[in-house]
Structure formats: structure tokens, C-alpha cells
Amino acid sequence: MTGPARAELSSSLEHLLAGYAIASVVGIGIGALLWSLRYLRDATSPYLYFLYVLPAPVLVPAALTLFGIGFTMKVVLIAFAALWPTLLNTLDGMRGVDQVKLDTSRVLGVSPLGSVFRVVLPAAAPQIVAGLRNSLQVAIILMVVSEWEASTDGIGYYIVNAQQSFDYVGMWSGIIVLAIIGTVANLLFVIAENRVLHWHYGARAAEGTR
């Protein structure tokens, strides 16, 4: 039953992976940049939060106009929408790093740039990862939504097309496939998170027993 739906998967997943990868790298990169340049941060801060709360599906028509239909439009849309949770959480996470850790870093002789990579980013990692998880959810939503308007393939297109052709079995099977993607994506995320943040959960658990 889910056969035809699953066939549409590969193009959707391609868009998802590309868009999410870009959002992650750019989000962390710009977040870190804004953290280091206080003037830039103060100047752009209101705009960042404005874009963060803007529901990205609203941008589909604009994206269509700018990029037409196809791969670029979808990837750009997914990346743009998924960017904000990661960016803002990176910024916040870095700002929230304990002063004692920063003082220690200075005393140990770590350079300002060195401490960004050796101290600030690792210390901010739990919050950055929370942002990445949020971004993943947004990316999945946009993956589907970007395929509703003027698309010729993908799981989102398949679901809408099935619904419009009164193929309700097809529609529901598409929805189920989507739910499975979401579950698997989150599972993979959690597995990766537990490896990368094992020290964080270990430290928290140890604190709890003191």
C-alpha cells in the first residue's frame, strides 16, 4: 500500500538533507559570528527575532517567484526556515557560557579565537543541539509544504495529489510514510545527540546524586 508513496521519498529526502545541512552550518556559523561581533549583534537582533517567528510556509509564494519550481526553491526554503532555531540557540548558548570557564580559558593561555572552538562552542553545545533539533522539525515541515504548490514530485506533492484525485488510501499512506520519516529522523538525531553530548548527560546525572 505504501509502495507508490515510498517511491516519492527520495527526492523529498534529498531536499531535506540539503536544506537541513545548509541551515545547520549557516545557523551555527552566523550565530558564532554574531556572538563575537557585539555591534553586529545589537544591530541585527530585532530582525533575527522577527524572522524567527515568521511562519516560514508563508514564504512559499515568494520563494516560487524568486526561484521558480524545482530543487533550488525547495532547498532554499527549507534552509531559510530551518536556519533560525539553530542560529538563535547558538547565539544564546554562547552568551550563556559560564564566566568561570572563560576566565579559566584566559588563565590557561587559550587565545580568544582558540577559546571559541575549545571552550565556548563545546560549552554551548547542549543548547546548540536543542536548536538543531528544533530546526529539524521545521525542515521536515517545510519539506512537505514546499511541495504543495507547483511541484511535480516528492511526498508532499504525492499526498496533495492523492487527496485531489480522491485517492484517499493513497493520501493516508503518504501521511503514514511521512510520520515514519519524522520518527526515523528524530531517532537518528537522538542517537547522534547521545554520542555528542554524553558528557553533558553524565555530568547532569552526577550532579543529581550529590
Binding site: D98, V100, K101, D103, T104, R106, V107, L108, G109, V110, S111, G114, R118, V119, P122, A123, A125, W199, H200, G202, A203, A206, E207
Partner: protein, 276 residues
């Protein structure tokens, strides 16, 4: 002899620069005015003047709020005095010089939880581009000195409080600083562990020949550890007295503390700190 003069070295008789030299150091924080009008400048330190000679173990005591932590941060180069001079090895402190180690009170916040014990200790050596083989050796050595030879692979949060502070001490010694600053380092551990750590730091001072400035609110600890105790007061933040401790070395938790002289020093300093 005024404080601040070059002192004749005990052995050679030659005049040597003190490791640390503070002259009329004043530190004022300006806090934002809050509604209700309690803002304005806060004088953390009014006029602090003292020296620390090479190899000396100096303790700084004072009541809460006396600016002891501010003083330590100034000594480390983490904070700049508002006026007055803070010299390290004769040169003014503009930033944190490479020859200083600091052990903070809160080891839980100072040690990096994403690194193992060995990598924490290794970090200052990596930053100084010490080659890998030598790094491994120095890490092993310094962990051995603090009694944690087998803890390298663990994470700091897997260890007890006392052990974590030992890691912090090891990390600060890995690059052989000339001056070790300690900010109430044993305040967050239990009494028994505190005695062990006190004896540890005395051994470390012997073994590494490092100059130590040790801030504490615990008078007993200060008298037990120090060659000299610097008592500072609150409002104004000035040095009230510098007391030479002539109890013999090596010190012992039981016999030294049973000594009459120990009680005299204790009484005297407690009186100064409690303002009586």
C-alpha cells in the same frame, strides 16, 4: 624596610624583585543605578599594598565582602586596578601572563566537562604547542603529584569534589607557573578532605617551588599553610596587618595545630578579621 622595596634574597643576599607587588591598588565598580537609588560606584578595594617574595606561601584573609576575590582577579590579570599598581615579576599586569596558574573555588564550573581529566590537564600544554610525547609525560607526572595517577581517563564529573579540585590543581601546575593563585579552593569540600588538600598543597609548594597566594576565609587554614598572612578589611578595603607565621616546617595537622603559637596567631588574626 618599606613594603615594596627589593628584599635581600635569603640565600644569596642579593636584592630580588618580588614575584607580586601591589601598591595602593584601588578597584571601583560602577554599578547601574537601580530604582530606589542604590546604584553608583562600589569600592571593592580601597588601598592595597603588599609584596609576595619568590617561593613564599602567602595567605590573604578577610571578612566576607572584603574584596578578596577582586584582589585575586587583579593578581591574575583578569581585572585591572582602577588606580595603583599591580606588578608581576616587576612588570605591570595588563592581561593574564603565561607564568600564572589559578585554582578557582568552584571546580565544577572551572573544569571542562566535555574533556577527560587527562585532556583537561593537557589543555594548557596543547595551547603552548608542547609535543605530544612530552605532554603525556607531564600530564602523568602532575597527576601523580596530586595523587590521581589513575584518573586520567575519567571525566571530572565522575570524581568526588576533593578529587576534582586536585584535577584543577594539576591542570594549573601542568605548565609550571611561577605563581599559583588560589581563591578559597577548599571551601567547597568537607573538613576531612580539606586537611588532605591542605597538606597536598604544602607538598606541591615544596616539590614545584612555586610561589603561592592563597585566599581564604578560614583563619585556621591560613595560619596552618602560610609563611605570612595578609589581613584585609572591608570598607575600607585596606591591608590591616601582615603577620609573619614562624611555626616550623614541615607543618602537621595535629602537632602544629596543638602548638601554643598556633593559638596565638589564630586569636590575633580572628580578632583582626572580626574587628575586635
Amino acid at each position: 624596610m618599606k613594603v615594596g622595596d627589593l628584599k635581600p634574597d635569603a640565600e644569596s643576599g642579593q636584592e630580588v624583585t618580588p614575584v607580586v607587588s601591589l601598591r595602593h591598588v584601588r578597584k571601583v565598580y560602577t554599578s547601574p543605578v537601580r530604582s530606589g537609588g542604590h546604584g553608583g560606584p562600589k569600592v571593592a578595594l580601597q588601598d592595597i599594598t603588599f609584596d609576595v617574595a619568590r617561593g613564599e606561601f602567602a595567605c590573604v584573609v578577610g571578612p566576607s565582602g572584603a574584596g578578596k576575590t577582586t584582589l585575586l582577579r587583579t593578581l591574575a590579570g583578569l581585572a585591572q586596578p582602577t588606580s595603583g599598581e599591580a606588578l608581576f615579576e616587576g612588570a605591570p599586569l595588563r592581561s593574564v601572563p603565561p607564568g600564572i596558574g589559578v585554582v578557582f573555588q568552584d571546580y565544577g564550573r572551572s573544569l571542562y566537562p566535555w574533556l577527560t581529566v587527562a585532556r583537561n590537564v593537557d589543555l594548557p600544554l596543547r595551547v603552548r604547542r608542547v609535543p605530544r610525547a612530552e605532554r603525556a609525560q607531564r600530564v602523568a607526572e602532575v597527576l601523580g603529584s596530586v595523587g590521581l595517577a589513575d584518573a586520567g581517563r575519567s571525566y571530572p564529573w565522575q570524581l568526588s569534589g576533593g578529587m576534582q579540585q586536585r584535577v584543577a590543581i594539576a591542570r594549573s601546575l601542568a605548565y609550571r607557573p611561577d605563581l599559583l593563585l588560589m581563591d578559597e579552593p577548599f571551601a567547597s569540600v568537607d573538613a576531612q578532605t580539606r586537611f588532605e588538600l591542605e597538606d597536598l598543597i604544602l607538598r606541591i609548594r615544596q616539590e614545584f617551588g612555586v610561589t603561592v597566594v592563597f585566599v581564604t576565609h578560614d583563619i585556621d587554614e591560613a595560619v596552618y599553610l602560610a609563611d605570612r598572612v595578609v589581613a584585609i578589611s572591608k570598607s575600607p578595603g585596606v591591608v590591616t596587618e601582615i603577620v609573619d607565621i614562624t611555626l616550623g616546617r614541615p607543618r602537621d595537622q595535629i602537632t602544629t595545630k596543638a602548638d601554643q603559637a598556633f593559638a596565638h596567631y589564630r586569636e590575633h588574626l580572628l580578632g583582626l578579621v572580626m574587628n575586635r
